[in-house]
Symmetry: C2
Subunit: 407 residues, 2 copies
């Protein structure tokens, strides 16, 4: 049952994680077939089990967040639990953790102790600011880290257009991006360790910071600032260097994205709007002019869009070959024929919650895609199975550990 | 010179890419040591060479986007160029491409042809919507794909609070996330191909869609919708399930994030604000009450923040141990002592542009970190070196190919 399909079948990962970043990383590894053993404190377990909307008293998010994982409990504050962790580590390829920097050391699970148990272990640490440096001990709140990474400043309307604050991306983008980066780094370290003829057999450490994961996505902002002193500013629904591309509200109040930011596309749009003269208007002739006059341009397109229902807008724009779409809600995503066709919206039987909708597996390997083997399990669901199967503990020994609050 | 340091030293990758997603993926591979050979059309090359602010007439972004790559030119429409690509593919572990689905087939570079040249090639395809399905041929504009992935709907103020459109994240988030996912998938495929004792020697294909990469980040939105019918709505600068956490404008007009969304943190904040009674106010007693009354709460915090300079706010909040930060601009990022300490802001000598600021390497492997070996090179800078070094072509042969417009 633990054995998956997909390229990472046969890989074993231990997660000492909670919240989003480390568990998201191991979800990606598990989706592609890894055997992920997630260690939680006995009792309530990972706080995400309580997060978001509930179904039958349980977090719906958990169904996805912990899928394919074997959830065991161990109270890491107890020496006997630590000893068990080290015995499990000896059977694992990878450890993923997102405690505060230094906390595992204080629990007796330093890198030295981990490597003594498994010399070639790949150790992935995810944190807010990194494992060293003057700010490593700062509390790692996602919204703070995303702001330090430079993203919050950019998700806003242009200076002077509103009194409202910059917008949060709306999802835990920093944690997720850090999690994907960690998954990539883990596989790079494993390849270098294991590749026949090219590997060196050595375990490596990874130090992934949420702030840096976001900061790495800022395109040319840093070299532009360094060379020219220009500070990139937010551009609302549009783009600083191309027009028209924005969201426009339909008669039925739905935001429809239209990206007609090339001369041929803009000509098609102007014709569709019944105002072909716009394409010859000197204010809108060429991308540079359109960018300079994008407010007037957005106003004209907005006035046109406001006269039509979103479905009609989409139909007309598609027929005219102008890239466009409504801003999908999750209902739109769930109904999307392309997502359905590609297995990106799928029904999964959750043993506790019944049939649940899950997102599919990314990245897709069409010939070896992995699988959703099971949904996020209850606290400690696999403690017995793992301790017996991997460490050979008897049922009586496991019962005694449980009795003593160790697992 | 092509040989890097880092865990991917010794890996060779050919990129048939342009714009952001595929080149971002190969940048990550190159940062960790891979030899990346980027193929561009002769002449202007990749359009990103013209994007964004210019330094000495060249794109500053390019300096980062194409760093560590060997840039060669080949006109893929010419049969002789195709033949050279296939000979190069035979010397590579991985191919990364982001043409429109089907376009490489039409150029005679089908999966079959690529595998004939290199049977165990890992082939990573990145596209807007995926390689199959009813919408695979739709134009892959980033802003459209992000909206279809469900993100644009969520980066907005709550319904009814503004007439302004939802905000673009401000960076090419869909392309970047797809690129990181592809890098992860490539390494997973390589591990399964190459791992001693566990590998199967088989090349695998990857099919990464921008829409799906974004959609995979939506936390519990899909299972919540499936089970309960709830459609997640945008929450502006805040979070739906915790308060107070938002951005507040300082007296000097800077947005300062404050995340005091727990009882102890809120008590600290109320004390700092000189209004300790707020922590006992029934409207703000406990997280649930604070979420229900977050507008009033944000107003009170905003009024306090507006009386202080951002630097003073940050100083006070830090001293009180309340997580907070200004929304960093790129200038703030460049000056940040933590980023500087960790090598995340570094000076790189660009042969064409002089000293440039580059972001560091993510993920960080402290003991084997890779390097920025060189900045993004001019069009065709490495054509001669690669064709001579890898394929053994003579200078005369290369000159003839150039003459005929093949490279």
């Amino acid at each position: 049952m633990a054995e998956g399909t997909g390229p990472l079948a046969g890989l074993r990962v231990i997660e000492l994680g909670h919240f989003v970043a480390a568990p998201f990383c191991t979800r990606l590894l598990g989706d592609l077939g890894a055997d992920v053993i997630k260690v939680e404190p006995p009792g309530a377990g990972d706080p995400v089990r309580q997060w978001g909307a509930r179904v039958k008293g349980q977090s719906a998010w958990w169904s996805v967040h912990a899928r394919n994982k074997r959830c065991i409990t161990l109270d890491l504050k107890k020496p006997r639990a630590r000893e068990i962790v080290l015995r499990l580590v000896a059977r694992c390829d990878v450890l993923v953790e997102n405690f505060r920097p230094g906390q595992l050391d204080r629990l007796g699970l330093s890198e030295e102790a981990l490597r003594a148990a498994r010399p070639d272990l790949v150790i992935a640490r995810i944190s807010g600011y990194g494992q060293d440096g003057p700010q490593r001990d700062r509390a790692a709140f996602g919204v703070i880290g995303e702001a330090v990474g430079g993203l919050r400043h950019l998700t806003n309307h242009p200076p002077g257009t509103t009194e409202l604050p910059p917008v949060r991306v709306g999802i835990s983008i920093g944690d997720s991006v850090a999690g994907i980066y960690a998954a990539f780094g883990i596989m790079a370290a494993l390849w270098k360790r294991d590749a026949a003829g090219r590997g060196d057999g050595r375990g490596r450490g990874l130090d992934v910071a949420l702030t840096e994961s976001i900061f790495s996505l800022l395109e040319g902002a840093l070299p532009e600032y360094g060379a020219l002193g220009t500070v990139r500013q937010p551009t609302g629904g549009g783009i600083a260097t191309a027009a028209p591309t924005n969201a426009y509200r339909s008669r039925d109040g739905i935001w429809v994205l239209i990206a007609a930011n090339s001369d041929p596309l803009f000509r098609k749009l102007a014709t569709l709007m019944g105002q072909p003269e716009l394409a010859e208007d000197p204010r809108f002739l060429g991308n540079q002019a359109r960018v300079a006059n994008s407010a007037a341009l957005d106003e004209a397109i907005g006035a046109w869009a406001a006269r039509l229902e979103a479905a009609e807008l989409e139909r007309l724009l598609e027929a005219a070959d102008v890239p466009a779409t409504r801003a999908y809600t999750i209902a739109d995503c769930a109904a999307d024929p392309q997502f359905r066709h590609r297995g990106m919206v799928r029904q999964v039987e959750d043993a506790a919650l019944g049939p649940m909708l899950h997102p599919g597996i990314v990245p897709l390997l069409p010939d070896d895609p992995g699988a959703v083997r099971w949904a996020g399990p209850p606290v400690g669901a696999h403690t017995g199975e793992v301790l017996a199967g991997l460490l050979g503990l008897s049922a009586a020994e496991i019962a005694a550990l449980h009795q003593e609050g160790i697992c």
